[in-house]
């Protein structure tokens, strides 16, 4: 259970209005029950990334609290960071080791797991993203999509209770996307809560239990996919188009 209660996040230095500050997340309250598949949608700059970063203490709210599995994040960072796995919007920011295998193993090592268990998790996570056999590749030689996959594998290997993915599909080609979607679906079935951040719902709407739409840092929509569908385009979020428009809409 992740419980977001009246959270506000400001950046002092940003903003274009000259005031020298921007409120990225504005009084958001949100309860994410265990095992839910939640999609957080919104336009560029609507505060999605900032919001989810409060879930494991990478961003600290200026007001409000976030509680994970009953404990406030601020009170027990270890608990929050082991419970909430996170895949960053830019995978390059996430890889901390020099080789693929070492990177995926990094999280499990920090948990102090036994070597056999670490090996099992690494193999398993790499398989989930179609990167089996690439353990010894150096991370700086990976292509954009390959890097994205390794970042996802690193989060999967932590076996988190809640998995947050910030725009996970952007760089992935079709087989990799499918493979990740399958894995997310399986995790969801096994009881992990999955939170996907995106501004393009075409690939995840079918998976979601619920969609939260952000606009200017505030919750503008909070509903099951079917109900949210009508309002999301008003938030500048992409939704599955009508049959004819898809693919062709760029040309219309």
């Amino acid at each position: 259970m992740i419980d977001v209660d009246g959270v506000t996040c400001r950046y002092e230095s940003g903003g274009s209005d000259g005031s020298g500050g921007v409120t990225a997340v504005d009084d958001v309250s949100l309860a994410i029950p265990d095992g839910e598949f939640l999609v957080v949608a919104g336009a560029n700059g609507s505060g999605k990334t900032t919001l989810v970063r409060t879930f494991n203490g990478l961003a600290t709210p200026d007001a409000g609290t976030v509680t994970v599995n009953g404990t406030p994040v601020a009170a027990d960072l270890v608990a929050a960071r082991t419970a909430v796995g996170m895949v960053f919007q830019d995978p390059r920011d996430q890889l901390v080791a020099s080789t693929v295998g070492a990177d995926v193993a990094f999280g499990p090592e920090n948990l102090g797991l036994a070597h056999a268990e670490i090996d099992r998790r690494v193999a398993d996570a790499l398989a989930a993203v179609n990167m089996t056999g690439r353990e010894d590749d150096r991370v700086e030689t990976l292509s954009g999509g390959e890097r994205e996959r390794v970042a996802i594998a690193g989060a999967l290997a932590m076996h988190p209770d809640h998995l947050v993915l910030d725009e996970p599909f952007t760089g992935l080609d079709e087989p990799a996307r499918r493979s990740v979607v399958d894995r997310l679906r399986a995790l969801h079935r096994e009881g992990t809560s999955v939170i996907v951040v995106t501004h393009d719902l075409r690939d995840v709407l079918g998976l979601a239990d619920r969609v939260v739409g952000l606009s200017n840092g505030r919750v503008a929509v909070d509903a099951p996919p079917a109900d949210a569908l009508a309002e999301l385009p008003g938030l500048d979020v992409r939704v599955p188009a009508s049959p004819l428009a898809d693919g062709a809409d760029a040309d219309s």
Binding site: G57, S98, G107, P108
Partner: protein, 238 residues
Amino acid sequence: MTLAYVPGDSFAHRIDPRSKLLVQAGFAAAAYAYTTPRGLAVLTLLAVGCLRLAGGGARDLWGYRFAAPVLVLAPLVAGATLGEPWFRLDRAADTALASYRILLILVVAAGYVRSTPVRDSRAAIQRTVPGKPGRFLGVGVGLVFRFLPLLKRDLLTAREAVRARGGEALPVRDRMRLVAVAGINRAFARADRLGTALNARCFAWNPTLPRLAFGRGDYPALAVGGGLLLAAAVAVAP
């Protein structure tokens, strides 16, 4: 090109990094203790042996070419005198021996570098230096290896970005400033983002220590390293 780890299956590749570090320490100590023609002759055999056991050869020494000028120049400067006899061979010979011992130490070091992957080196630190200092060094060294190509790339892409947008028209000085400042800025941002990533991934002071174990091949290596240290101690003992 530059000296680096080369995957392989030589004797040195198969033994524990800690044994290899001990051999290096012992060798350096012995080279300083026995800087005589005879001592260095024996050590030459040993040094070449070490490099061969790591599957290396003369090629690997190319990485140390920048050391060569000092090593060659030093005996000349040492021998030169301002008055008669202008050049003193004995002084030059002393320094030449000292230079040569450095060369030998570099040969042994080359053997370590080419036969030891980063992972093992980090493991050696973390298993040898206890507690937080060991963790700091272990993770820190890992991050240096991670940053090095990134940084070169950041400097390179900063240059590319400037170029891709017509920056060639600028004077060299401006271009250098732009690249340096953009490069350092990027590097900073990157360090902070990687710091965040470490946290998000549960970066802890007490992780699972890397696998390392002494095997049968390590006994001779440990014996050689220990023997060299002992020999050095004997030489300096009063």
